[in-house]
Subunit: 263 residues, 2 copies
């Protein structure tokens, strides 16, 4: 099977014009099918403040009300997505921006109201993905660029970008040897969170469970690791957690982040 790279970038890349430019240059140079998933960065927060849209939290969890949904639809689906696509086009990378609504790429279920009403939030699984159309676009050398938005029942919904990256990777693993790369602010998963040079270069199920028992992982990295192992157990060949500046190393054989495999 052919290799496919599914790469997720977060706010730290998006908020700095120069970082983004360098990252996109590296991304464009990858000679294999690839998909980019981006978050929103501080632009949404800043614009929300300007427009007087308050961030609402219940029990520490952010709520997507109607005004916030319009805000993220504009910023994630419009401004950020189209600026990335236009920049990639200038780098001769035939990018095509998408939300989950476009081409019915990711059909979500609006999160049911239980203890908390999260508002316009979409829950998804690998079955939510229109992998036929996505595969088809990749075969035409199109580079899909996803904003973290899905849809259901005529409405756009807000969905976590890490989750979108995971379900895309899982659903496309029937067609490709997929490496899912999460770019974040550290070099990789650290054995000691205070020491940047303590990167765990390889993790499999056995070493993960051993380190987990030892209490090695702090709260910030645990959801990412759980996400990663869900992907690995669902057919994704490799998950890499690393820094966006190391993208080229991390799409090669001598990776600089944490490479997660089944065994």
């Amino acid at each position: 099977m052919n290799k496919l790279y599914i790469i997720k970038i977060g706010g730290n890349v998006l908020d700095d014009e120069k970082s983004l430019k360098t990252f996109l240059k590296d991304f464009a140079s990858i000679q294999a099918p690839k998909i980019l998933i981006h978050g929103g960065g501080k632009i949404a927060t800043k614009l929300g403040e300007q427009l007087g849209i308050e961030s609402n939290y219940i029990k520490g969890r952010r709520i997507t009300d109607a005004a916030t949904l319009d805000l993220v639809t504009m910023v994630y689906g419009g401004l950020v997505n189209k600026q990335i696509v236009a920049q990639l086009q200038a780098l001769h990378c035939n990018a095509l921006g998408l939300t989950g609504a476009d081409g019915n790429m990711i059909k979500a279920i609006k999160r049911p109201v239980r203890e908390v009403d999260f508002g316009f939030v979409g829950d998804i699984t690998a079955e939510s993905v229109n992998s036929t159309l996505l595969y088809f676009l990749l075969k035409q050398n199109i580079i899909p660029v996803f904003a973290p938005l899905t849809h259901a029942d005529g409405s756009i919904l807000n969905t976590n970008a890490d989750t979108i990256a995971s379900v895309l990777a899982i659903s496309l693993s029937k067609h490709f040897d997929t490496r899912l790369i999460f770019c974040f602010e550290k070099t990789g998963v650290l054995r000691d969170v205070k020491k940047e040079d303590s990167v765990i270069t390889n993790l499999n199920k056995i070493t993960y469970e051993k380190l987990l028992k030892e209490g090695c992982f702090h709260d910030g990295i645990l959801p990412k690791l759980e996400n990663a192992f869900t992907a690995i157990h669902s057919g994704v060949k490799e998950v890499l957690i690393g820094e966006h500046t190391n993208l080229l190393a991390n799409t090669g054989y001598e990776t600089k982040g944490t490479l997660i495999t089944l065994s």
Copy 2:
């Protein structure tokens, strides 16, 4: 050749939730390949005011400065486009939202600075269109929904929605019998602008030039007619100018607007 409908809607449909809903229901029911092009409506103006972005005019022509470009990228490419796409998906119409940057669909030239610097405005011709990819999507039963944005040299650019509709129609006329439909606030081109029942049902080159000499057409309709005849002279089979409420009649044989043909 198969029939293709290219339909442009303006602000009057977008600004009213109920009108838009009815229009999209009619649009979704058209049983043929189709493309939708939308403008921006009053939402961009309203949001611009909230954000303190001033509309700049030079010699009566609107200027797209950097702040205005970000605004229209958010509103046209994000909010309006994705809301339309999500609503069409709920109507079982597999819509896919696009700007000219996505898939390099419409590559523009940034308008050269002569007497006036129009800012981030993209000029286009039928040669600007990636008709191969667009044809390909249509063959997959995808319904492209275009925001009035193009791109050049790594930047999104603002381009008139009527012009985008025209160049798409011209470039796809090699693959389809194309009917280009401009929806506007009147039933059709009127012989007497004060009489809504004076619709000219058919116009060809000869009748157009005759009525033009008689001074029949007012300033507001002339650019639309010039645009229409440019399309007709460039291979588009039919252009229809009519009201969005008459979409279903205007995609059939017994049209209610002004049907423009070569002869």
